[in-house]
Symmetry: C2
Subunit: 137 residues, 2 copies
Amino acid sequence: MHDVENRPWILIITHGQFGKELLNSCEMVLGKMENVYCFSLLVGMPPEQLIENVAAVMDSAPAHSIILTDIYAGTPSNVAAVFAKKKQCPVICGLNLPMLIEAEMSRAETGGDEWAKRIIDAGNESIKNITRIINER
Amino acid sequence: MHDVENRPWILIITHGQFGKELLNSCEMVLGKMENVYCFSLLVGMPPEQLIENVAAVMDSAPAHSIILTDIYAGTPSNVAAVFAKKKQCPVICGLNLPMLIEAEMSRAETGGDEWAKRIIDAGNESIKNITRIINER
């Protein structure tokens, strides 16, 4: 659906640096990822500063770009909600590694709600009790 | 259920350092957490080394301790599966911030399968499309 130049971007907003390290971990699995931008809420940082940091990237992001955040109703997701309202971009919370992998794998073919759905489905399918799986074999 | 001395431990095994940073982010929300141990699969590290690192902690972990990992069937979860078999501890994959928060919040009262279920439920409930929630208001 998208050629390389206008593939949607992935923005990640989290408490602290875990979004950045999640991206590093994801790149251990998939290799280098382009146009993924991480924003950290640091201790003592006012939300307005985080909004400003995100806006500096979001204002030039292609259509169908997406924001991934760590937890519903925390400051990072409240900041993301500002852009959900303003830009109508999908904002998904509960980010884990399988969701970021799915976001990268499907971003060339999808965008908007279909992309969001694939990421959410990947997240829900990824949460398992491995011990139970082993015991049922 | 558990007094402080024999509260179960939380072990986190991930690709790269994201488990460590996830713990830091979680502590931004909950404050300092005790007896949480993070293990990183680094580039070029043999799985045997990771197994050895985990075993050094797991061998003295209290009953009902738990392992949280990033993605099913990756090296970290395969390493965790070794301990699932050997110790019958719950191993949960798909770790995100709300799951780690739930693991900490409920570890004093629960253990084993009930604890695992609460963490998995917290994970599944945490994955949402915030833009859709805003638009439905």
